[in-house]
């Protein structure tokens, strides 16, 4: 199993308060914007935290050779169509995204709707590092050490009503900051959604960092989802809105290609994309393809949520 969850009990109050470090770091960014020398110092807060209470990745923990994907690849190769459709575009163009200040609107079927400053939204939660496999629908994959907190904690904080059966997430829509949105490749803004039980699953992570640092813009700063058992496009980036809904929301890729991208988008080697096979994947950094695992290897944690469902039809 490839999840490293730092035990909260390990964390001594006096030593670190991740939230304050997070705030500090964001303050730092404000002050040090434009100074590349600052990078090393800036990376300190999270890595110090990681050293204190987060186990480094342990190889023997995994049945597969799931080595971390090199950071340089994680931050230079991904899909984030808001910055262009080439996988090099996000790293090249995400500089125009301003993540501070940032606020998130919470709406719909919950007791605590409102507009939250990012700092206030994350304040009540302890951060932890989690190493997850990420499987893109394009049949490549990575292993990434994320920093974040359980989505379930955030949802509980908002006190959804009994009517809330789905959670919908929306990415920032601002073509000035996100030049890829100047072309209507997708129906902006990007929207993703989960069934409530999926959102409450302990694997679902609200990420604010990776590799011991605050999220780089191109990886979905300042707040993104990570759902390791689903194809990458479900893990929505740069979230500005969270809405609780009684009905199943319409999601962006599903609208773009209903026959190719389902609402669930669970990693499934047995259900091919209509145009290519999903049975194998290329792990970035490796030469030979490897077999794709059911639910990306997280069946133990998530398979129960889909029991009795026809996964061919609900792809």
């Amino acid at each position: 199993m490839l999840i490293k969850i730092g035990k909260k009990s390990d964390l001594k109050e006096s030593e670190v308060t991740p939230q304050s470090l997070f705030d500090q770091r964001r303050q730092f960014i404000k002050k040090a914007a434009g100074y590349s020398v600052a990078a090393a110092t800036l990376s300190l807060p999270f890595s110090a935290m990681a050293a204190l209470n987060l186990n480094p990745f342990q190889k023997e923990n995994s049945s597969l050779s799931d080595e971390l994907t090199a950071r340089k690849h994680v931050v230079s190769y991904n899909n984030f169509y808001e910055f262009g459709t080439d996988k090099k575009d996000p790293a090249a163009h995400a500089g125009s995204l301003k993540t501070d200040p940032w606020s998130v609107t919470v709406a719909g079927e919950c007791a605590k709707p409102g507009v939250y400053a990012l700092e206030d939204l994350v304040k009540p939660h302890a951060f932890e590092e989690r190493i997850y496999r990420l499987r893109c629908v394009e049949a490549w994959s990575m292993v990434i050490p994320w920093i974040g907190f359980p989505l379930a904690d955030l949802i509980k904080q908002m006190q959804p009503t009994s009517k809330a059966r789905y959670v919908e997430f929306t990415t920032l829509h601002d073509p000035q900051q996100m030049p890829g949105q100047k072309r209507s490749v997708l129906d902006w803004p990007y929207i993703e959604a989960l069934r409530m039980d999926e959102a409450m699953n302990p694997l679902s992570l609200m990420a604010v960092g990776l590799y011991g640092e605050v999220l780089p813009n191109q990886n979905g700063a300042p707040l993104r989802l990570v759902l390791p058992w689903k194809y990458g496009f479900k893990s929505i980036k740069s979230i500005v809105k969270i809405r609780f809904s009684e009905t199943q929301p319409r999601t962006t890729w599903n609208l773009s290609g209903p026959g190719e991208y389902g609402f669930y988008a669970n990693v499934n080697p047995e259900v091919d994309h209509p145009r290519w096979s999903q049975s194998r994947e290329r792990r970035i950094g490796e030469f030979r393809k490897r077999k794709t695992q059911m639910f990306n290897g997280y069946a133990e944690e998530v398979a129960h949520m889909y029991r009795g469902m026809n996964l061919k039809r609900n792809f």
Binding site: Y81, W140, G257
Partner: protein, 202 residues
């Protein structure tokens, strides 16, 4: 020295080197590990792009020769066409060797089941006779009319190539769209030209 001399001994070798540049650059980037996180995919994209570009460039030669009354341009056509085939071969070799690593059952399944691979493969197969019959001796042996007829296949290849690209992309059809547009213009030019020639005869 005559224009013909320059053509044979300067322009052609120069063009040869220029056409080889993308491959040289690709080789250099591969050697220096500058192809990014997913080098095999990058090679596939670069060789695929150049295959289609050379195919369309080849098809642009005779319209240019007609428009500018520069028949000598046609002397570059064969080389350009063969460069298209060269990049297609690299593209295919990358797929078979690096991407699939000689997994023949998987390759067979791809060709049968994946429309974009089927179409790309069809284009490749159709390009083979065109490449082979580019030899002077064979042109003679076939006779020019039959040779010309065979080489009409290049339009089928181009359509399949564009379709192949169109089916590769997930949502952004801009680039294959541009190639498709160019191909349509090139084909319309030929229709127009044939018509106008027929009119002249009448």
């Amino acid at each position: 020295m005559s224009f013909k001399w320059y053509l044979t001994w300067l322009f052609k070798p120069l063009l040869f080197v220029v056409c080889l540049l993308p491959a040289v650059l690709l080789g250099y980037d591969a050697y220096t590990d500058a192809l990014g996180a997913n080098p095999i995919e990058e090679i596939s994209h670069i060789t695929g792009d150049w295959s289609l570009r050379f195919l369309l460039i080849t098809l642009t030669v005779s319209p240019l020769a007609i428009l500018f009354h520069a028949r000598w341009l046609n002397r570059f056509r064969r080389m350009l066409g063969l460069f298209c085939f060269f990049y297609v071969c690299l593209h295919l070799a990358n797929y078979v060797v690096l991407d699939q690593y000689f997994d023949w059952p998987e390759i067979y399944k791809d060709i049968i089941k994946r429309p974009y691979i089927s179409v790309g493969f069809a284009a490749f197969v159709l390009l083979i006779p065109l490449a082979i019959t580019s030899v002077d001796k064979l042109v003679e042996l076939m006779g020019k009319p039959r040779w010309l007829k065979l080489h009409q296949l290049v339009f089928v290849c181009a359509v399949l190539g564009v379709l192949h690209y169109l089916w590769v992309v997930k949502a952004d059809i801009l680039e294959p769209g541009i190639y498709g547009f160019i191909l349509i213009v090139l084909m319309l030019f030929r229709v127009w030209h044939r018509r106008s020639q027929a009119n002249v005869k009448v």
